[in-house]
């Protein structure tokens, strides 16, 4: 198949899964006695009402999507972006309150995420602990520690419902182009994805990474240190998720609420983004925009029509389930089994 027709068939598949997902959303709206077409219209039109929120969410989801996609090239399923994102956010918040500035919170946020998922990579290669299991367990550990620290050490005495805020010196600016403000996090995120695309496609390390995932045994006989590549891919995924968490704190939420709502869901939704972007670092960007529109839109539907915002999560779940069907996942199959 030529490249052009392959891209066309992938695009058709993605469009079809999206259409089915939205149809399910319309059914949900109907079951809540809301007008289905208007609900879907409001959901997909969120970029006009809240362009800044959509842009910021898309920036985060592109990074957590990349955090799922990168280890998959080496044959690993990383479900740990959720925990690494939250740990990165927590570390960046703590560092910003402690020292202010941007460099230290960003670097420490990235380092904490990288360490967390490097642990999962190490457990997989050294002790054969399945990475899906270990990353889920780590997600829960991080979640409870986050809630603990948010409510105790980092609590704002004047606003007990949230933590202290990031000082002014640590806040990331928004870039003004004409009348629209673009979050600098979106520019950083897009640049990181572009670098990753070049890395995976055009560098020797990227090629070796894909080789290790596509055919582990052959790669080993050719002297590739498969274990090292796998641990490194998990550490890099943790770094990307930790970066996202730190950017989210410094550039957008500035604090974390006591139920952790400000930092929840970005990691899990990144999985859907990576699948919809067909595991291609550049295609992940429009997929992240689409998910950001959908998830932001579902929070608009609640006040307007009384349809709970979890309808968005349900649609995402249906889309991921559909994307698991093999015709739609030829690519992942090739990557995993060679």
């Amino acid at each position: 198949m030529s490249l052009k027709s392959r891209i066309a068939s992938e695009a058709a598949l993605v469009a079809a899964t999206l259409a089915i997902g939205l149809a399910v959303g319309a059914l949900v709206a109907y079951s809540f006695h809301a007008p289905p077409l208007q609900v879907i219209g409001v959901m997909m039109g969120s970029w006009r009402v809240l362009p800044d929120v959509v842009a910021e969410y898309a920036a985060m989801l592109a990074l957590t999507g990349a955090a799922f996609a990168l280890p998959l090239y080496a044959g690993l399923f990383n479900i740990g972006a959720e925990g690494a994102f939250q740990l990165g956010a927590l570390t960046a918040l703590w560092a910003a309150i402690q020292w202010g500035g941007i460099a230290a919170p960003l670097l420490l946020g990235m380092a904490s995420g990288a360490l967390l998922l490097a642990l999962a990579g190490w457990l997989r290669t050294r002790l054969s602990v399945n990475e899906v299991l270990s990353t889920i367990m780590l997600n829960w550990v991080v979640y409870w520690l986050l809630l603990y620290l948010v409510a105790t050490r980092l609590e704002d005495p004047y606003h007990p419902e949230r933590t202290l805020e990031v000082p002014a010196s640590s806040r990331l600016p928004w870039v003004h182009v004409g009348h629209t403000a673009i979050p600098s996090t979106l520019l950083i995120s897009a640049a990181v994805l572009a670098v990753l695309w070049v890395f995976v496609r055009m560098t020797r390390w990227g090629l070796t990474l894909r080789f290790a995932g596509a055919n582990e045994w052959t790669a080993r006989t050719r002297g590739v240190r498969v274990e090292a590549y796998r641990i490194a891919s998990m550490a890099a995924a943790g770094l990307l998720s930790g970066l996202a968490g730190a950017l989210h704190i410094l550039g957008y939420s500035h604090s974390i609420d006591v139920i952790g709502g400000a930092v929840r869901g970005f990691g899990y939704n990144g999985i859907g983004v990576a699948l919809m972007g067909r595991n291609d670092m550049l295609a992940i960007i429009p997929a992240a925009l689409l998910f950001a529109v959908l998830l932001t839109g579902s929070s608009l539907v609640e006040p307007a029509y009384g349809v709970p915002k979890e309808a968005g999560d349900f649609i995402v779940g249906v889309i991921v389930l559909l994307l698991a069907v093999p015709e739609a996942l030829r690519l992942v199959g090739r990557l995993r089994r060679g």
């Binding site: 809540f32 457990l123 602990v129 829960w140 409870w144 649609i315 995402v316 249906v318």
Partner: protein
């Protein structure tokens, strides 16, 4: 903690064991046949919601259990359709099932009971006995008995041999006239049904209501118990008891500390315990050879 309290924690552990054990024992069957079901967490949630709904609608805990069983079997069937017949990616199908079930059941709380967090208490709860003030459902002895029965089927009968054959060497099993697809379908539906029972236990029996995202990773802890056991039914039961006690320890300390944030670190106990137990044992386990791979006749 004095010996008396320790004994109480073990008793509490027995009743939290049931959810994990039923799910894990069913998953041993599915994985021995070659199919991983990462979607167990979603099945637990969906069946727990359905069981609560049926119990409230019909004032019958038996109806609740039946509803849980049916929903579990159906979702097992869905997973099998995608991963066995459509040869889809098992991990991704499971992840999708989890995300969809988490969204759907939270929507379901709103749709059925009009609030954001939980159902009202169920009107009918199954018979239970009390040991030293700890409630133990009739499901505790039943789970142990069922596990022994399923161990016997898997290790001592022709049915078990078929399941293991399609999980270890599907091509040879196929050549011997065993239907790889149908055997895997049956094993995955059995696994889904047991997870469905586990979900019903969690809501109508153990807690007495449905709470948003109440499974809290237990589907994954059950997967850990399977890996911990080295794909053995009785080993999975034992692992579930260990993780159940971890669960009970978290509950115990939370109660001692009161419901304040100071208790949150204790909530990490079951997850850390699971991670350590699997790390200590996974390296020597003998995995079914065709695990996770769809079968295509050459």
């Amino acid at each position: 903690m004095d010996p008396h309290e320790a004994f109480i924690v073990v008793l509490m552990g027995l009743s939290s064991m049931v959810t994990i054990a039923l799910t894990a024992v069913g998953e041993v069957f599915a994985e021995r046949s070659g199919v991983v079901n990462i979607g167990l967490e979603g099945i637990l949630l969906a069946s727990a919601w359905s069981a609560t709904y049926a119990d409230i609608a019909l004032h019958s805990w038996a109806a609740g259990y039946l509803a849980g069983l049916a929903v579990g079997a159906l979702l097992g069937l869905l997973h099998a359709a995608i991963s066995v017949y459509a040869r889809g990616d098992q991990i991704i199908a499971g992840v999708g099932l989890n995300i969809a079930a988490a969204g759907a059941t939270t929507l379901g709380i709103r749709a059925a009971w009009g609030n954001y967090g939980q159902s009202p208490p169920v009107p009918s709860r199954p018979p239970a006995f009390t040991v030293l003030g700890v409630r133990e459902s009739f499901m505790v002895p039943l789970t142990i008995a069922l596990s022994i029965l399923l161990w016997w089927i898997l290790e001592r009968t022709r049915i078990g041999l078929r399941v293991k054959a399609v999980g270890d060497d599907p091509a040879s099993a196929d050549a011997l006239g065993i239907s790889v697809e149908r055997t895997r379908l049956a094993a995955v539906v059995l696994g889904g049904s047991l997870a469905g029972l586990a979900g019903a236990y969690m809501s109508v029996d153990y807690l007495g209501s449905f709470v948003k995202l109440m499974s809290a990773g237990r589907g994954f802890i059950a997967l850990a118990a399977v890996a911990f056991s080295g794909w053995d039914v009785l080993g999975a039961l034992l692992g579930s008891l260990v993780f159940g006690v971890g669960d009970a320890l978290a509950t115990y300390y939370t109660t001692v500390k009161g419901a304040s944030a100071a208790a949150y670190p204790y909530k990490t106990i079951p997850y850390i315990l699971t991670l350590i137990a699997v790390s200590a044992t996974a390296w020597r386990a003998r995995m079914p050879r065709a695990l996770g791979r769809p079968y295509r006749r050459e």
